[in-house]
């Protein structure tokens, strides 16, 4: 009996050692999510990126994720935990993780951090985001062509520059088709709250909007649009399955290429802190299929997408007027990058105040 126990202990010990040996060989890549991967929007796309790492580099890399991490003191603990458990690379995928990410990064100089949509960097903290506004301009054009009432509804999460930029790009696109196009905005103060997102969509429709777009993470708004017979756009992910009749197209975030490239860089030892702001040209923002629309609208949307991808056209090309009537960019100019990154003003025609 005693022998048996010793043997069993020996096997257990040996297997534990071999397991830790395997774990030590593999690079551990951690992800912090603001919502559940099943939101079929923002977090879903990040999780697709994580799975892409598994698929491509699965023999050298092991990925882990934590979902529904609130943007506050809990985030710092969760990031710390991933770093303590041996993660060599950590992606923190929401704006509110900015300061916690930097705090943890200071304590773990050997771990690489990647923070999505923020603006603070360090030697071991990169930032990355996408020029989502390029897609917003395209859907703005489609909205103005399709809408009968000339009013669209926009569900905003938080009035941070990234979201304001999207609202402005959408309206500039719409105004390029119909200069009198109007936009109503409702803020839900959350990234992921399907109930409130649905309520906001209903309010906007009852106020005369016959086209809905949203900068939140769930599919609630497009589902309401489907029920109420108005048009909508998918956000972050292809949402066609949730609104087969209402959906015109989706703006699709593609993180997979970036995530694989950054993970490969850590494996190769070539990782350095950078700031990435990629758009359609870098394949980080894609348009979904253009459906439920006439051929001429589809042709226009495809032409605009091609022009932006080729770098021939910038959505914030002048003349751009601020809400107060002042000029943000004159004819022939483009709104400069600094103003885009810190955008705290609306363009003319937004029915809301910041």
């Amino acid at each position: 009996m005693k022998k048996l126990l010793t043997a069993a202990a020996g096997i257990a010990l040996a297997s534990a050692l071999s397991m830790s040996a395997v774990a030590a060989d593999k690079l551990k890549v951690g992800f912090i999510y603001i919502g559940p991967p099943g939101d079929h929007g923002w977090t879903y796309q990040h999780d697709q990126g994580r799975q892409a790492i598994d698929a491509r580099l699965g023999d050298q890399v092991e990925t882990v994720f934590v979902e529904n991490v609130p943007e506050g003191p809990d985030a710092e603990r969760t990031i710390t935990r991933l770093a303590r458990q041996g993660a060599g690379l950590i992606f923190t995928t929401s704006f509110g993780y900015m300061d916690p990410t930097l705090k943890v990064a200071a304590k773990f100089p050997d771990v690489k951090f990647e923070h999505a949509t923020g603006y603070k960097r360090a030697d071991n903290v990169s930032t990355y985001s996408s020029r989502f506004y390029e897609g917003r301009y395209v859907i703005g054009q489609i909205a103005a062509k399709t809408s009968k009432s000339g009013v669209a509804g926009y569900i905003g999460s938080f009035p941070i520059p990234e979201v304001v930029r999207g609202i402005n790009a959408f309206l500039l696109g719409a105004q390029s088709v119909n200069p009198d196009f109007k936009l109503k905005v409702v803020w839900v103060n959350s990234w992921f709250d399907p109930g409130r997102e649905a309520d906001a969509a209903k309010v906007l429709i009852s106020q005369g909007a016959d086209i809905i777009t949203q900068h939140t993470d769930s599919t609630a708004a497009v589902q309401v649009a489907e029920e109420q017979g108005v048009n909508a756009f998918g956000q972050a992910s292809d949402m066609e399955a949730f609104a087969p009749n209402a959906l015109l197209t989706s703006i699709i975030d593609n993180w997979s290429d970036y995530y694989i490239a950054r993970t490969q860089a850590v494996l190769d030892g070539t990782w350095v802190s950078t700031d990435t702001f990629g758009g359609m040209d870098a394949n980080m923002v894609n348009m979904g299929p253009f459906v439920n629309m006439p051929a001429d609208v589809k042709a226009m949307a495809e032409a605009t997408t091609a022009a932006i991808t080729a770098g021939e056209f910038h959505p914030f090309s002048g003349p751009v007027y601020k809400q107060d009537g002042s000029l943000a960019a004159a004819e022939g100019e483009v709104v400069d990058l600094g103003s885009l990154l810190g955008m705290d003003w609306y363009v003319q025609g937004v029915d809301d105040k910041l």
């Binding site: 934590v66 609130p70 506050g72 603990r77 303590r84 704006f95 304590k107 810190g342």
Partner: protein, 362 residues
Amino acid sequence: MQIVLEKRSQASSWMNVMSPVLAIGLTVIMGGLIFAAMGKPPLTALYLYFIDPLTSWWSIEEVLVKAGPLVLIGVGLAVCFKANVWNIGAEGQLTAGALMGAMVPVLLGDWQSPWALVLMLLLGALGGAMFAFIPAWLKTRFGVNEILTSLMLVYIAQLFLDWMVRGPWKDPHGYNFPKSVAFEGWHLLPMWGDGRMHLGLVVALVIALVLYWVMRNNLKGFEVRVVGSAPRAGAFAGFSQTKMVWFCFALSGGLAGLAGLIEVAGPIGQLQPHISPNYGFTAIIVAFLGRLNPLGVVFSGLLLAISYIGGEGVQIELGISDKTTQVFQGMLLFFILMCDTLILYRVRYLSGTQANIEGETS
């Protein structure tokens, strides 16, 4: 055949103490079954959930950081509930306290002195108490149900905070992001350890001990118990129901406000739209799990904190949804209420005729 709950003539005092232990045991057993049903090794999962958080100094620190606000709010609510006053809005009072205390760093950013921190702590408690006076006044003046008013005021406080950090108190150099300026120097609580343990934890423990003493040995504690369990007897003894409502809201609101200020001047270090992962609501579970006894609250606060930290560990190690934490906390509250009910009442099965007779006599 009919099932009725019948009040026991005398509740077992032994079982009264045992009830939380029983509830925890049942939660652990049910939790193990749930893990097994999900195809995860139940013993490993339970180990990760309840034991692993206590095996490294780092996670012990994190448990304490999490337990601090729960205990601080929980002891206030315990006294409140004991007196039969139902303050459900601690989350709002927490927010109000954080806002009031943050006036110092936001408006007087250059004033660096230990007194600045003292003033912040006092303002935090004052802010929470003043916000709690609204339901207290509505209750005593108009007889409005305090459960509803205190709960609804939570949303008002949170939206007000949201507006403040987007508007007047927004960091002017923060790219329009909804955050106040970062607190610095004496506007932050002294920290130890890995940089997360802070003075607020000591404050929470001291206040819990003081309240324990007050409730046991002081006339005020006696008054709380009498007014809570027998309001008429309390009235004959000269204890005012109205004053008790004010006292309870001042105490529990003040402590919740203090907890809010400690959070923003401690782990967070600035004002932002979300400053609490529902500490004010979780503290209600903490208060009941601690048998409405300040010392019990210290232990139940630690237990709930372990369930947060452990739940996160299980999520990472075994890939289980974060909802498990909420399921565990829900089960814990469910089982403790169930145990309590069965201590006070006994289940009786009545046959048809018995049920009729009981119905006629009652």
